[in-house]
């Protein structure tokens, strides 16, 4: 019955048909519940009376649902769901004519698809997760309209935190209740480092990453420090972001060897002492107590490592971690292009300076 009608219709009013077809075609929407009590999209747009196929995937670690309500009924539905929860229900979908569509509670990693026809009445139809506690922040709106959406920045149907996707205001907020001062040190999640990472920002915008798990300097960079906004504003999953350019990376298995053995020493991190805002790391390599303080050098940008090894009775070897930088040590002898040998006496206190090789640049 339908096809011939459509065909005739098409022959007579081809442009009208296209418009009609667009309205009755299914709008497919893929929505995600994501970390941070939010949906990945806070505004959806569908034409009035359109058929909608909406798929919700829960990529978060807690259960979420999705309820579409009558315009302006979001808070009321959230309150009703909470009442329901208190009475013992676990689907959190209240029986109410204010609830238009619902995807029941889905667990982490689950997906659920529903199909429905959008209301013919234009308007902003809120959607919300009514899992207890989530409703106050986890919501958005389906705009049933063919027109443009209102400005995001003032859209009351969108959580405040999502009205400006660039979060410009947040970046300008102070990091701490005191001014930023260099040097500065953070224990944090650093890229290209073990999970017990340390970042230190020095004067002259020279910075380094030290690994408290492996007890070693990992890399150094210039031109800035780190950005921790992402790390702090989430659950801590995002790593610190390096600001600047890495000029040195230790690519050895481990930069020190003790005695004739070629074995990597056992390491134990003991902590650090802050003096004038510079940390002095304390650690143990086998039974040898080591301290390390790193200060910036400026002529050729780089770092000077001030090291003490107490209680050595065998020589110490230091292995270069990268070729295209300059190394200088105030003690010991370079046995080869890559290896510095220090006697126990020399190793009691020495410095290794690592700078960019400006002639190579």
């Amino acid at each position: 019955m339908r096809s011939p009608t459509v065909l005739i219709f098409l022959l007579i009013f081809p442009s009208t048909f296209l418009a009609t077809f667009a309205q009755t075609d299914t709008v497919r929407i893929t929505l995600k519940a994501i970390s941070g009590l939010q949906y990945d999209q806070v505004r959806l747009k569908v034409p009035p009376a359109a058929w909608v196929e909406l798929t919700l995937t829960n990529t978060d670690e807690m259960p979420h649902n999705w309820i579409m309500t009558q315009p302006g009924a979001r808070e009321d539905v959230v309150d009703k769901s909470l009442e329901l929860a208190k009475q013992g229900s676990t689907d959190y979908v209240p029986e109410s004519d204010k609830v238009l569509q619902a995807i029941p509670l889905i667990l982490p990693d689950q997906t659920y698809t529903i199909s429905f026809q959008a209301p013919s009445q234009e308007g902003a139809y809120p959607y919300v997760c009514t899992y207890p506690g989530h409703g106050a922040v986890m919501y958005g709106a389906i705009y049933v309209t063919n027109n443009q959406l209102p400005p995001l920045a003032t859209d009351e149907n969108v959580p405040t935190s999502r009205r400006d996707d660039e979060s410009v205001a947040e970046e300008k907020a102070p990091k701490h209740p005191y001014p930023d001062i260099l040097p500065v040190m953070y224990r944090t999640f650093m890229p290209n480092c073990g999970p017990a990472g340390i970042a230190v920002g020095l004067l002259g915008d020279i910075s380094y990453c030290w690994d408290a798990g492996q007890c070693r300097l990992r890399y150094a960079w210039k031109g800035g420090f780190i950005d921790l906004e992402e790390h702090w504003s989430g659950k801590g999953k995002e790593l610190a972001e390096i600001v600047g350019m890495v000029f040195y990376r230790d690519s050895t298995e481990f930069p020190f060897r003790i005695g004739e053995s070629q074995e990597i020493p056992d390491v134990k991190f003991l902590g650090y002492e802050m003096k004038n805002r510079y940390p002095t790391f304390k650690y143990r390599l086998n039974d040898v107590e080591v301290t390390e303080r790193i200060i910036p050098v400026f002529e050729n940008p780089g770092i000077k490592r001030v090291l003490t090894f107490a209680g050595l009775d065998e020589p110490l070897w230091f292995i270069k971690g990268q070729d295209n930088v300059l190394y200088y040590s105030n003690q010991g002898e370079w046995e080869s292009e890559k290896i510095l040998r220090l006697s126990p006496e020399e190793a009691q206190e020495f410095t290794i300076t690592i700078t960019e090789n400006m002639s190579e640049i």
Partner: protein
């Protein structure tokens, strides 16, 4: 040293404490007995609290999400920076006026202010002898101190992220089960740092144990959050060697072989130690935090010796009433404080020298809040259930005030439901086999403070959910908290087996 004082100009800028963002009205009265106020905080502070304690000299010391540790002088209302740059401190213990232990992600750290200038110079590693996979969900909690050893609790990793290529500690992917997992040593464990510096595994089976504390007798208790293998949130009494239910941590048991996921659930169930108290999900608690015991002789009302437990999702602090039945702890939970000025996100708590309770808020990106609130006891005797004890036939309720005898003697004043929570891999559990239980007999003691209820049936393994309706004190004081949840693991063998605390 950076000093932040009310109205003083420091380092070229004026830093004034501001009211916290939650918009709660100052000095709002909870009722006649407790009041809540907001603590002023320095501007620019992201006040998500991971740990708080008091130093002997009366300064409060607080660890914040972005790694600051700050001291607060309650008299002067000034904040000072004690330490900075820590990785997500989630527990803090003041040893004296110059030494503080802080549990941060990678280690337990001893902060020492050697020159007494109010700022720590030494950050010494007290222990880092546990695994760290880089998974963001591996939070670390504690330490709880019994005067001898320090106890910490380690979170499992989240399925929402993997582990890093470089980890600290041995990797065992058998610990990577569905749900939260333990791929590196002692994730999902409670551990003890002995006086000799050795970190010793104590008990396994935890998922997200964001609360660890001792009672007045030195018994250790830990809370855990609803999720996989936890039908609802719980309070456990910790005993050495025991397994508490979340299965991934089993792979780090000494001599353990095999995949815990391949074991029958009935076997796992028989291995686990049941919680002393269950917090029914959505009704009582969605995310319990620190258990803090009310000190003896404290000026904080009638509940000395009982635990308060923080709650993240509701504007609530809970109260736990424990007893030992057949040698095992079990008991009831109820509200201590609901709304009335208290905000959500109740993460860390500590009693100040004046006996008031300080509550630190947190949210991360879960449900929660920021800031610090202070709860004071205004004196007087609230009408409340002081203790709920099991009897072979039912329960005995002890009230803080004599009850209105006529109301109390009416069996319809007590509505009991009972249900249990399933032990399974699935996230959470509905209330199972939920049934009303009739009250057969009511007996009110001569002094009017004790009400003994005989129930139609008492089945171990169930939560007994009691709603008290229409009951006031003899003098007409309204009952503060009328809903109680008793976790019935054990029925007393006989009356003498009861040792009431």
């Amino acid at each position: 040293m950076i000093i932040i004082m009310l109205g003083l100009t420091v380092a070229g800028c004026t830093i004034q404490p501001t009211e916290q963002e939650s918009g709660i009205i100052n000095d709002q009265r909870v009722d006649d007995f407790y009041s809540v106020e907001n603590v002023p905080l320095p501007e620019g502070l992201t006040a998500e609290i991971g740990g708080m304690d008091f130093m002997p000299d009366g300064r409060m010391i607080v660890g914040f999400h972005r790694g600051e540790v700050m001291t607060y002088d309650p008299k002067e209302k000034t904040w000072e920076l004690f330490a900075e740059g820590l990785h997500d401190p989630l527990g803090l213990l003041a040893l004296n006026n110059w030494e503080v232990l802080v549990m941060q992600r990678p280690e337990l750290t001893r902060l020492i202010d050697n020159d007494n200038d109010g700022e720590a110079e030494e950050y010494l590693t007290a222990t880092d002898d546990f695994g760290l996979s880089g998974n963001y969900h591996e939070f670390a909690y504690g330490p709880a101190y019994n005067g001898k050893d320090l106890y910490i609790a380690l979170n499992c990793a989240s399925k929402n992220a993997g582990i890093w290529d470089e980890v600290r500690g041995e990797v065992n992917m058998l610990g990577e089960i569905a749900g939260m997992y333990s791929a590196v040593p002692y994730r999902g464990w409670v551990l003890k740092l002995r006086e000799d510096g050795v970190l010793e595994p104590v008990a396994s089976g935890f998922r997200s144990p964001d609360g660890i504390g001792f009672d007045l007798e030195g018994n250790l208790f830990v809370t855990d959050n609803q999720g996989d293998w936890l039908g609802t949130s719980k309070l456990y009494h910790i005993e050495e060697g025991n397994f508490y239910g979340q299965i991934s941590s089993l792979v780090w048991r000494e001599g353990w072989k095999g995949d815990p996921e391949k074991m029958p659930v009935s076997t796992l169930d028989s291995m686990r130690t049941r919680a002393a108290v269950l917090f029914p999900h959505n009704i009582m608690s969605n995310s319990p935090t620190q258990p803090l015991v009310i000190p003896e002789n404290s000026d904080f009302g009638p509940f000395a010796g009982q635990f308060l437990v923080g709650e993240m999702d509701f504007p609530r602090i809970m109260r736990v009433m424990l007893e030992k039945v057949n040698g095992k702890f079990q008991g009831a939970c109820t509200s201590f404080l609901d709304s009335a000025g208290l905000s959500i996100g109740n993460h860390r708590m500590v009693f100040g020298p004046d006996g008031s309770l300080w509550v630190g808020k947190s949210a991360y990106v879960w449900v929660g809040d920021r800031g610090i609130q202070r709860i004071r006891y205004n004196g007087g005797m609230p009408m409340d259930v002081l203790q709920m004890n099991v009897t072979p036939q039912g329960f005995k309720l002890t009230f803080t005030r004599p009850v209105d005898r006529k109301m109390a003697e009416n069996p319809n004043s007590y509505q009991f439901d009972r249900y249990y929570y399933a032990y399974h891999q699935k996230y959470g559990s509905p209330r199972m086999d939920e049934q009303p239980v009739a009250v057969k007999q009511v007996q009110v003691s001569e002094d009017g403070k004790e009400v003994t209820l005989a129930l139609a049936e008492m089945i171990p393994g169930y939560v007994y959910d009691l709603q008290i309706d229409q009951l006031t004190s003899m003098k007409g004081v309204e009952l503060e908290n009328s809903r109680l949840f008793y976790t019935l693991n054990e029925l007393p063998n006989d009356q003498t087996a009861l040792s009431v605390r």
